[in-house]
Structures are given as structure tokens and as C-alpha cells.
């Protein structure tokens, strides 16, 4: 089982907890970093964070509605960095009808996940992005 580095970009405490709980139920070796907005997330990726941490995540789980820099802006930036653009990004949002969805998909995301993140349920839907995310984490 490979060690996975995950970056969660999410401003809502409840959603962060929810993702944490979901991940903890998976028997995987992982390291979770949390940023509360796009600016903090970029700082972590570039090593400009206050404590100087620099990470190279395998997977980014991204919320779209955030203060300072929202998910779409963040996506636009990292997809322009050669070193970052191959990171798998899963967008996580409330509604399947968000008008941002088309924009996000055009920016080359890997999957589109509906909140709440529930790996148990996704086992019934092998075509879903949540299932895809679980597969990524498990291999």
C-alpha cells in the first residue's frame, strides 16, 4: 500500500470533519493537509506557508465556494504550473447543478464529487467520481 499525500481545500469545518472521518474509515496510509482557501493552498504547494511546509500532494480535494480565492481561480492557477498540473483534482460541492461545474470540467479536473463524501455508498456506483477517488487512494 502506497503512502498518499492528500490536500483538502475547504473552508467549512463540518465538511473538513466529514472528509476526515470518511478517510479514517479507509485502511490506507495517508497524510492529510488542510487549507481553508485557495491562497493558503497555493502557499502550501509553493512552500510559502508560515511554517515553511512545502507539500507535493497526489490528490487535491477542492471545494468551490471559498473566501479569498475560490476553487475555480485556484484551479486556473495550478493548471498553468507545469509541476502542478498533473495532480489529480476532485472538486467537491453541494449540488450537481452548480453552474461552476462546466467551468471546472473545462479546466481538466479528474472528478466531481457531491457532498457528503461517503465511500461506503459509492461502492454501489462504480462509475461515480467518489468511487474513482477511493480507487486512487487504495492502490
Amino acid at each position: 500500500m502506497n503512502h498518499k499525500t492528500i490536500l483538502l481545500v475547504e473552508d467549512d469545518y463540518l465538511d473538513v470533519t466529514s472528509v476526515k472521518r470518511s478517510l479514517s474509515k479507509l485502511t490506507i496510509d495517508y497524510e492529510l493537509h488542510i487549507a481553508h482557501n485557495g491562497v493558503d493552498a497555493l502557499a502550501l504547494l509553493n512552500g510559502n506557508s508560515p511554517d515553511g511546509t512545502k507539500i507535493k500532494p497526489d490528490i487535491i480535494i477542492l471545494d468551490l465556494n471559498m473566501p479569498k480565492m475560490n476553487g475555480i481561480e485556484f484551479l486556473g492557477i495550478i493548471k498553468n504550473y507545469y509541476s502542478l498540473k498533473n495532480i489529480k483534482v476532485f472538486v467537491m460541492t453541494t449540488s450537481s447543478e452548480d453552474y461552476d461545474r462546466v467551468t471546472a470540467e473545462n479546466l481538466g479536473i479528474t472528478g466531481y464529487i457531491l457532498k457528503p463524501l461517503d465511500f461506503e455508498k459509492s461502492k454501489d456506483f462504480p462509475n461515480s467520481s467518489t468511487y474513482q477517488l477511493m480507487s486512487e487512494l487504495l492502490n
Binding site: 463540518l14 470533519t17 466529514s18 472521518r21 449540488s95 457532498k115 457528503p116
Partner: protein, 489 residues
């Protein structure tokens, strides 16, 4: 010019023409009567003249006969003439109004008197048996008769009569011509006047009809368009009462259009508001749901039964609120999602819905042939789905029954979804279509009261209608229309 004034003027002109017509006719017929009396006068004069001259000739013959035969009865005609001629001459004198003719008459009278003197002297001397008388007669006979005194007088009278009659004949001919002319004139002028008045009546009638009816027709059209929701206006350049009416209609149309657009805008805003609000309401709700789940998962063993019960209540209410928000989202989405039209076989669609929604303890009967139409599939499907699932939901029989039928009404179809369920009291027949109105107890049923509101909104979007026929315990029939052809906004 107002229509009232035009109508009034038209009527006045017509009345004037008829008055002129009447007046002229009166004058003309007076002329005819006058000319007829002139003609009659001439005829009487001619007749009298003939009678007089015949009487005179008879007198002459009588005299001649008496003188030749000495028989007294020859003198009857003579005395007759003697008696009849003077009054006739007097009458004639009165009738004639030309001085020339009067002179002729006087001359005739004079000559006739002379002739009578002559004749009388002959007759008295011949009648007398005394010798002197006989001698006297002889003398007269020799001097006068043989000298053709009487004949000369009579010739002169005849000549005068010829002149008199000739004049009178010409006079009669002239008067005949004048009478004929006055009759012809009368005929012609009345014909022209009658024709004129008929034409005038026709022209003014047509003018008024054209002035009023075509414009009224335009206004009726406009009113119909307005009732269909097309807020047009008409352009009327006349200055009269109808113009005022058409202007009022135009104003009404404009105000209605403004209000209608305002209302549409407000409705749209409301839909968007409902959508945004319900969308945003879901996030914290999900949070509550998450936390309660985590509470149960993490501390399930430590919780007392009371707390567990409270947590279940929270979860129940949360679920209910989520259902309501989803319903509200669905409701708001009707106006938001762009509509697509496709061919829909209603029968097949119902069969699919029945398979999905109806449990095996129900029988569903499609009573007649369902149509195939091009329409908004999502919407018609949603209507049927809501009505069918309601029919299933509100039925407490062991074996339920749902009957579905369709009928063609020309521009639209009418569908009936009839169940044998619990029914609805008549005082709720309006209320059930209002959002979040459900006749069930809050916790007893999985009912948010959105379904029928959605049905009604969809039908309103398609300019269709729905009504319910139901009695408590006797089942319910939902009767709704659906347009045959796509309705454009």
C-alpha cells in the same frame, strides 16, 4: 367630427332631399292639373262651337224647308235653335279668354241676330194671311232671298266658325303638348330626385357602416388578442367617439402589458430567489445531519434512551426539512430549466411510470388509446408521475385501482387520473394545489405538499388547467388538459 354629428348631418341631408322631392312634386303636379284644366277648357269650347254651328245649320234647313213647303213642322228646329243658341253663346263667351276669339264670337252673334231678324220677318210675313202681308213676303222674297241675303250672312258665319275652330284646335294642340311636357317633366324630376335620395342614403349608410364596423371589428380583434396575452395596439386616426374607445383599449393593453411583464419578472425573481435560498439552506441542514450521525456513531453506547429519542427526532425533522427543500428546489426549477420538445407516446410513458411507482397490490387501467404528441416530455412525465404516486399514496384499500383515460378536444387533450382512494373533502379542493399544503399529519406521512403545486405550476406554464373531482371516501379524479402543440411564451 364626432360620429353623432355625422349621423345627425346625414339624417338632416336625407330629410332635406325628401322634403325638396315632395315640394317639387307638389309644384309639378299643380302644373299638370292646371294644364289639364286648360286642355279641358279647349275641348269644351270646341264641343260648344260644334253644337252652336250645328244648331245654326239646323235653323237654316228648317227655315228653308218651311219657306219651300209651307209646312209648320219644319220650323221646330228653327225655334229650338232660337231658344238654345243664346245661352250657349254666352257660355262660350265666358270660356274663351282670347280677345280675338271673343271678337269672332261677337261677330257670329251679331250676324246670327241679323239672320234671325231676316228670318223672323220672312216667317211672320209668310204666316200672315192678310193680303198686305203676302205682298210684303213677296217683296222680301224678291229683295232678300233672291238676292241671297241669308246665304251671305250664313257664309260669313261659317267663315267665322272656321276661323274660331281653327284657332281653338291649334290652342288645344298646344295645350296638349304643354300638358304632356309637364307630365314628362314631373316624371323625370321625381325620378332624378328619388334616385338622388336613394344614392345619398346608400352612400351615407355605407360610409357610416365603413366608419364604424371596420373599426369596431379591429377593436374586437384587439380585445381578443389581449385576452390571449398579446398586448398589441391599434392605430385610429379619426377624431370621434370610437377613437376615444380605441385609445382606451390601447391604454388598457399597454398597462396590462406593463403589469404582465412586471409580474413575469417578479415571478422569475421569486423562482430564482426560491432556488438560491433552498440551495443555500441545504448546506447547514446537511451539517446538522452529519453531526447527529457522528454523535450516534461516536457515542452511541453512552447515550441515554431519552437522548437517543431526541436525536431520532432531530434526524426525522432534518429529513423532513430536506424533503421540503428538495421539493422547493423542484418547484423553483420548473421555471428555470429550459424546455425541450420531443415526441412522447403517452401510453408507453405511463406504463414506464407505473412500473416505477405503483406497487403490485394496485391495478392500473388505461381505459382508451393514449395519444402520441410532440411536447415537453419531462413536464408531462412529472405531472403523471405526481398524480399516479398520489393515487398510490392516498389509498388505504388492500387492492387499489387507478383508471387513466384521455380525450381529444381539438387544440388540447384532456386526461383523467381516477383512483378509488381516501378522497378529498370539497373545501380542500383549491387548497391542495398550494405549496406545502398537505392534508396529512406532519409525521404520519411522507408528504411535503409540493407534488400538486408542481403539477399546477407545470400546467400553468403550458397554459393548461387542472381540476379535482372528489368526495371523502369515494376516490379522487384529477382532470387536466394538455396542449397538442408546444406553447410558446
Amino acid at each position: 367630427m364626432t360620429i353623432r354629428f355625422k349621423l345627425f348631418t346625414g339624417i338632416i341631408i336625407l330629410i332635406s332631399i325628401f322634403a325638396i322631392d315632395f315640394f317639387v312634386n307638389q309644384r309639378l303636379s299643380k302644373e299638370v292639373v292646371k294644364n289639364t284644366s286648360y286642355l279641358n277648357n279647349s275641348e269644351t269650347i270646341i264641343r260648344n262651337s260644334n253644337i252652336i254651328s250645328k244648331l245654326m245649320i239646323d235653323m237654316q234647313s228648317g227655315l228653308r224647308g218651311y219657306l219651300l213647303t209651307d209646312q209648320q213642322d219644319f220650323l221646330i228646329t228653327y225655334y229650338e235653335g232660337l231658344k238654345s243658341i243664346p245661352p250657349l253663346l254666352r257660355e262660350q263667351h265666358n270660356l274663351v279668354n282670347s280677345s280675338r276669339q271673343r271678337e269672332r264670337l261677337d261677330s257670329i252673334n251679331l250676324l246670327h241676330t241679323e239672320w234671325i231678324d231676316y228670318s223672323n220677318s220672312l216667317i211672320t210675313t209668310k204666316k200672315d194671311t192678310l193680303p198686305e202681308a203676302s205682298a210684303r213676303y213677296k217683296e222680301l222674297f224678291e229683295k232678300k232671298v233672291k238676292a241671297r241675303f241669308g246665304k251671305r250672312l250664313n257664309d260669313a258665319i261659317r267663315d267665322l266658325f272656321q276661323d274660331f275652330d281653327g284657332y281653338e284646335y291649334r290652342r288645344r294642340q298646344e295645350r296638349r303638348v304643354i300638358l304632356q311636357k309637364s307630365i314628362d317633366d314631373t316624371r323625370q324630376i321625381s325620378l332624378i330626385l328619388t334616385f338622388c335620395s336613394i344614392m345619398m342614403a346608400l352612400v351615407s349608410g355605407l360610409y357610416i357602416i365603413r366608419l364604424i364596423t371596420s373599426r369596431i371589428a379591429k377593436m374586437v380583434d384587439l380585445a381578443e388578442e389581449i385576452s390571449k396575452g398579446n398586448f398589441k395596439s391599434i392605430n385610429d386616426t379619426q377624431q370621434d367617439e370610437l377613437r376615444r374607445l380605441s385609445e382606451s383599449l390601447n391604454t388598457m393593453s399597454a398597462i396590462l402589458e406593463k403589469n404582465f411583464k412586471e409580474l413575469q419578472k417578479k415571478n422569475k425573481e421569486l423562482d430564482e430567489f426560491a432556488y438560491v435560498v433552498s440551495h443555500d439552506l441545504k448546506a447547514p441542514l446537511r451539517g446538522i445531519d452529519n453531526i447527529t450521525t457522528w454523535l450516534e456513531e461516536d457515542h452511541g453506547k453512552e447515550l441515554t434512551p431519552d437522548v437517543k429519542k431526541s436525536i431520532d427526532l432531530i434526524k426525522g425533522r432534518t429529513k423532513r426539512l430536506e424533503n421540503m427543500i428538495n421539493g422547493l428546489l423542484d418547484y423553483a426549477r420548473i421555471g428555470k430549466v429550459k424546455r425541450g420538445f420531443e415526441k412522447v407516446a403517452v401510453g408507453e410513458m405511463i406504463n414506464e411510470l407505473v412500473e416505477l411507482l405503483v406497487p403490485p397490490n394496485f391495478t392500473v387501467n388505461i381505459l382508451n388509446k393514449m395519444p402520441v404528441l410532440t411536447t415537453d416530455k419531462l413536464h408531462i412525465e412529472q405531472v403523471f408521475a405526481n398524480l399516479i404516486s398520489n393515487a398510490v399514496k392516498y389509498n388505504n384499500k388492500v387492492v387499489g385501482r387507478i383508471d387513466i383515460s384521455a380525450s381529444d378536444w381539438g387544440d388540447f387533450y384532456e386526461f383523467i387520473v381516477q383512483d378509488d382512494g381516501i378522497g378529498i373533502q370539497s373545501e380542500y379542493h383549491e387548497k391542495i394545489f398550494t405549496i406545502f399544503q398537505t392534508l396529512q399529519e406532519r409525521d404520519a406521512f411522507e408528504s411535503t405538499g409540493v407534488g400538486l403545486a408542481i403539477v399546477k405550476k407545470i400546467l400553468e406554464d403550458h397554459k393548461a388547467t387542472i381540476k379535482v373531482e372528489s368526495k371523502l371516501g369515494k376516490g379522487t379524479a384529477f382532470i387536466f388538459t394538455w396542449p397538442k402543440y408546444p406553447v410558446t411564451e
